[in-house]
């Protein structure tokens, strides 16, 4: 019983990190880059209209950071639950 509840907790912890990452993923691309693009384009980032920047640059940078963040968080969670590989 101990064994399966540990697994269930590990999975819940994973889903929590996952959900947080996917919220950011959705925000930077679909919300900032598409749905709110016209509003954000009123603001400038240098010569980039902000919405345009998110669609062609910012979302991509954020995706890279997100995956490394996820990998880092999951390594910590693996250790915490004693399921890390050697």
């Amino acid at each position: 019983m101990e064994h399966s509840s540990n697994r269930a907790d590990y999975w819940r912890a994973n889903l929590k990190v996952l959900f947080g990452c996917l919220v950011v993923w959705f925000l930077v691309s679909y919300v900032f880059g598409i749905l709110l693009v016209d509003t954000l384009n009123q603001i400038s980032l240098g010569g980039y209209p902000l919405g345009f920047w998110f669609a062609q640059q910012g979302s991509i940078f954020t995706f890279v950071v997100l995956i490394f963040f996820y990998a880092w968080r999951m390594n910590a969670i693996d250790k915490k639950f004693g399921v890390a590989e050697d």
């Binding site: 996952l18 993923w25 640059q57 890279v64 996820y70 399921v83 590989e85």
Partner: protein, 586 residues
């Protein structure tokens, strides 16, 4: 040394490199042939996956697509990168934990069904074959353009090279050549972009240069001036945002499709551990992002350079347009390829480039400026290929672009061919037809099916079945609507059973194929479409190219409903799901 000799030398040197790598890293076991013995360093696997993923289309065509579509091309940038977030968090680590050789194998085991496995194989074959046709054609075109051979000779040469290192080396050989190909490709892409950015804006990084002021003394931002000049020539604004709904759906379809592409997924089977798979996905996207964040700069700066070349002065004034006699050397070079064409419609000896499809603007331009139609045809592939010449860079950079274009096409072709051959030798032959085949026999079968796949791909590359241009939509639509949902539910839903997964995949595949064929013609045969392919006829205005997102949703819904009405999967399958979810049993 003249340019042609230099190109032969540089491209030839890269081929020698690929051969050496293939011989050093040849595969001796099925594990090495399918998954490189699961011993690839995660950072190196990231490079290999980036090369595997970035095709001739990414390298040659994407910047041109951005140049002529501005903001609207963002769907490709976000879609083809954001898919890796899904892949890294929803699929790759768990498939690595599962620890076998192929994507259909996971579907077959998880849904305890050979039928499911065969459906996955069929989806994989359709996706990978349609995709590989474009690569083989890309190899042929790159050869013919740079080495001045015919497309056929180029294609045969490409087939020969892939044959040597893919059949001999299997996944192991392909991995090491892909790493080399990535380095060549990224160098060839970024060097001209850096120089052009320096020339136009004084900024070293093209990503910064695109958002900076021009150094032409105007103190205006590049993108601002680009918007203005485009509007003055009757085009839409570069940063303008039309049709956001299809941008949204296309981005979603491309993301889900990217995450479901078997030849990319299988690369994450080659790293030693689950945590390597997660990290490797990050490195992959970082290596891809270097090219994908440079591409918008290449696009914007190339269209700017083109416009400023033909329209150096005020729009409407006679001397505002370039005299054809005074055109620059790169213009002449590319005219001989037919990718750049000029036709003097109003016989004034000057080049007018504007949007004559904009009726209001065309009428005004004719009445006030004496323009009688757009006189310049620019192929979008030129935007990357002619870059070094426009920037007046030395010949070795041009030779590098040639090697880079060929590397991009070869690396993706090899990855696809491996996915195809392992689906045949491992999933169909070993999995279904002849389970008692020996390891040696299976390895031989893998090499034979790879050879056959190369011949078929080469044949289709020479005789493209009319739908080469539609292939991208089909491959991504099918990957999104069939494989991704089945894989994801296989990991995230313990309750998902055989009946649900099969029904979901079939429903997703069918509805996506139907919708694409409905507007593009049955099997893309021209004239057999049921409705004209334009926004007025699309269901709820959904572009067939973006339909993969809807196909995926249909797959999820049908699978969940059917699974609810049928019996849950057996206990050992639920145990299998529990097991793939944890890196190591606790």
């Amino acid at each position: 040394m003249d340019l042609q000799t230099l190109i032969y030398l540089v491209v030839g040197a890269t081929f020698v490199l690929y051969f050496i790598l293939a011989i050093v890293a040849r595969a001796g076991t099925t594990s090495e042939f399918y998954v490189a013995g699961k011993g690839i360093n995660p950072v190196l696997n990231g490079m290999a996956t980036a090369a595997d993923w970035m095709s001739a289309a990414s390298f040659i065509s994407m910047a041109g697509l951005i140049a002529f579509n501005g903001y609207s091309a963002s769907a490709y940038l976000m879609g083809w990168t954001g898919g890796y977030v899904l892949l890294a968090m929803l699929l790759a680590p768990y498939l690595r934990k599962f620890g076998k050789f192929t994507v259909p194998e996971f579907i077959g085991d998880r849904f305890y069904s050979k039928t499911a496995r065969v459906i996955a194989v069929i989806a994989l074959l359709v996706i990978s074959l349609t995709y590989v046709i474009g690569q083989m054609k890309g190899v042929g075109v790159a050869f013919s353009r740079f080495l001045e051979t015919s497309v056929e000779v180029g294609l045969f040469a490409g087939m020969g090279i892939v044959f040597v290192y893919a059949v001999l080396g299997g996944m192991k050989g392909i991995t090491y050549t892909q790493i080399a190909q990535y380095v060549i490709m990224i160098f060839a892409y970024t060097v001209p972009a850096i120089f052009i950015s320096l020339q136009l804006t004084g900024h070293f990084l093209p990503q910064i240069g695109t958002g900076a002021e021009l150094t032409d003394g105007s103190n205006q931002y590049l993108l601002q001036k680009l918007d203005m000049i485009l509007v003055d020539l009757g085009f839409a604004e570069y940063t303008g945002t039309p049709d956001l709904m299809n941008t949204f759906l296309l981005t979603l379809a491309l993301m889900i499709g990217t995450a479901g592409l078997p030849h990319v997924l299988v690369r994450f089977f080659t790293v030693p551990r689950v945590r390597d798979a997660r990290k490797s996905a990050g490195w992959t996207l970082l290596f891809i992002a270097i090219l994908y964040t440079t591409a918008p700069a290449v696009g914007a700066m190339a269209i700017w350079n083109t416009l400023k070349t033909v329209q150096p002065g005020a729009i409407g004034a006679e001397e505002g347009n370039l005299l054809y006699e005074e055109r620059p050397q790169w213009f002449k070079n590319w005219e001989t390829t037919g990718l750049l064409k000029f036709e003097d419609k109003n016989d004034d000896g000057r080049i007018q480039y504007y949007n004559d499809n904009n009726e209001e603007f065309a009428a005004m331009a004719e009445a006030e400026y004496g323009w009688e139609g757009n006189e310049l045809y620019v192929d979008r592939d030129i935007m990357v290929l002619a870059n070094p010449e426009i920037a007046k860079l030395p010949n070795w950079v041009i030779a590098l672009i040639a090697a880079g274009g060929i590397a991009a096409a070869l690396s993706t072709a090899a990855g696809l061919l491996l996915a195809i051959s392992s689906a045949i030798s491992h999933d169909l032959l070993k999995g279904v037809i002849k389970p008692d085949i020996s390891e040696k026999g299976e390895l031989m079968a893998g090499r034979i099916s790879m050879t056959v796949a190369i011949i078929i791909a080469g044949y289709l590359g020479l005789n493209p079945p009319g739908f080469a241009a539609q292939v991208v939509a089909l491959a991504f639509g099918l990957a999104a609507s069939s494989l991704f949902p089945a894989l994801m539910m296989g990991i995230f839903s313990k309750r998902m059973n055989k009946q649900g997964a099969i029904a979901g995949m079939l429903a997703g595949l069918t509805i996506t194929l139907l919708y694409i064929f409905w507007y593009k013609g049955w099997f893309f045969i021209p004239g057999t479409n049921m409705l004209p392919d334009n926004a007025d006829n699309w269901l709820f205005g959904i572009n067939p190219t973006s339909f993969g997102a809807i196909g995926a949703a249909v797959n999820f819904i049908v699978a969940i409903l059917v699974a609810k009405m049928t019996t849950p999967p057996p206990a050992e399958i639920q145990e299998l799901v529990e097991d793939v979810r944890v890196p190591r049993a606790s």
